[in-house]
Amino acid sequence: MSFLGLVVRNLRVRKVRSVLTALAVAVGVLAVVTLSLINDSVRSSALALLQTGRADFTVAQSGVSDVLNSNIQQVDVAKVGAVPGVSTAIGALVATVRLNSTYPLFLEIGVDAKDLHPFGIRILQGRAYSPDSTDEVLLGYQAADNLHKAVGDEITVDGNRFTIVGIYSVGQALGDSAAMMPLATLQTYQRQGGLVTLMFVQLAPGADMAAVRQEITDQMPSLTTIRTAAEFGRADRSLQLINAADEGSRVLAIVVGGLIVMSMMTMAFIERIREFGVLRAVGWPRRRVLGMVLSEAGVLGGVGAAAGVGMSLCAVQLLQHSSALSGFVHLQYTAGTFWRAIYTAAGMTVLGAIYPALRAAALAPLEALRHE
């Protein structure tokens, strides 16, 4: 019998308790991994939106709680376009509306018809909207799929009826789950005359990006430029809050899960005092008893982590198809997701097992043998 064999045997003899302990770890991992997956997905989707349209970087209003709440004067688009080194600057108004009960977060993007090509729009079916149209929209292909719409169909958005003149793709999930219309039309419907949400900037060949970005913020201090995920994280306070909630939930999961594991393992410790006494009496040193209890916790943590990841994969599949996130969040599994599962499970099991393990190791063999 190996040491690991003994550890597994010890766990198997208390099946229900072992299963419940592993389940506590699994639920903690489920919560952390699921929330992390959604957080990562929201972040990457939003970042992908900022990087739409072959842009080298994006410009938003600085200091806003949510980048989608950014307000930039349309005249600033022309000013940015005139900065040396800038090839094109495209202003886009972005709004979210409730389409229906199954599509509560629908994205509308207002872009001038002339900017569709530089913006990176690829028309898959039909045609682009006319420059001055007030009732024509392009529908992202994923939105078309989800809403079962085709070219020629009508769609009512925020009480306004539009004809779908084309189906497009921008190559990223959030943009492909949206509708696009002329900038002026969306500005009118949203009562945002003269305003855009974001600017998408392409540089001239050979231009120094850092210098161009610096020039823009020097000329217009109310604006900020975003190129990387980290910059987006700093610019978007909502994302900062989501990140904080993500971190908080992880700590909470570790603490709550750890307390549950500790409760279970302390009960097991009390039942096993005599067993620890026997092992100490036959010559086991304290460190081996400590190692045995921690190894048992480690096995439970490993099983719990694996189960938690499996459960979270199922949970995110369900969430992906839920109404609130339909078409908006596209979950991505990364190595980081699984690292989070591992260190959450490790945190819970170490926190939960260290106290009973230390108590088991500290037992005087004679007193332990007399324990009833």
């Binding site: 019998m1 190996s2 045997r9 009496a281 036959v282 010559g283 040193p285």
Partner: protein, 232 residues
């Protein structure tokens, strides 16, 4: 030639700040290969003496040398117990969720033996105590005598020079007592250097010992005497 394995001089073990004097000035020398019986009324300090020899509890004062090691100054009692002492308890103290073989193997953790060698040795030891056919059974499916024999096999797992047994026959029927005594006799023939200290209330077990130490109130009532059976 004298070869003392256990030397106790003015040995004391007090509890509750001296209110209880479990062992109170014991002097005894046990020679290598000797089988010493310790008898006396309940609470006279027999088991406490055994526990001190096993480094399960520290003496309050006095001198106690076991295999030349001062128990009072022992830095690593665990490895001392594993390598030097074999322990058999009255209630066998086997782990109920392990098989007989695994119970024997557990005592060999931390030695240099590989897993395969541990298994082989456990099988040999169980064969030696006539339990070859029971090695995969858990203690709950063994009789009291069989459990005690598993405990004996476990005590001998690391080939200790000293075997300590606390009432090893206390919970056994007459046949099992006979069998245990036969086993001890065989063990002594095969390993004449093995020193055995037995705490017992059973006159038959005491009679099988080379010497018997009678204790009362934590002390030897007189010098250990040669038992009749060994004198004969």
């Amino acid at each position: 030639m004298s070869d003392p394995v256990i030397e106790a001089a003015d040995l004391h073990k007090h509890f509750d700040g001296g209110l209880v004097r479990a062992v109170d000035g014991l002097d005894i020398v046990v020679e290598r290969g000797e089988m010493l019986g310790v008898t006396g009324p309940s609470g006279c300090g027999k088991s406490t003496f055994l526990h001190m020899v096993a480094a399960l509890t520290r003496p309050t004062s006095g001198k106690l040398l076991v295999e030349g090691q001062d128990i009072l100054g022992l830095s690593d009692p665990s490895s001392f117990r594993r390598d030097r002492i074999g322990l058999v308890f009255q209630l066998h103290n086997l782990l109920p969720h392990l098989t007989a073989r695994e119970n024997v193997e557990v005592a060999m953790f931390g030695t240099r033996l590989s897993r395969r060698r541990r298994r082989q040795r456990a099988r040999t030891l169980l064969h030696d105590v006539d339990l070859s056919d029971q090695e995969e059974r858990p203690p709950t499916r063994l009789s009291g005598g069989e459990r005690q024999r598993v405990a004996l096999a476990r005590a001998l797992a690391n080939e200790p020079p000293i075997l300590l047994a606390d009432e090893p026959t206390g919970s056994l029927d007459v046949r099992s007592v006979d069998r245990t005594l036969d086993l001890l006799a065989r063990l002594r023939r095969e390993r004449p250097e093995l020193t055995i200290v037995l705490v017992t209330h059973d006159p038959r077990v005491a009679g099988a010992c080379d010497r018997v130490l009678h204790m009362a109130d934590g002390r030897a009532t007189d010098s250990p005497v040669r038992s009749r059976s060994t004198e004969a």
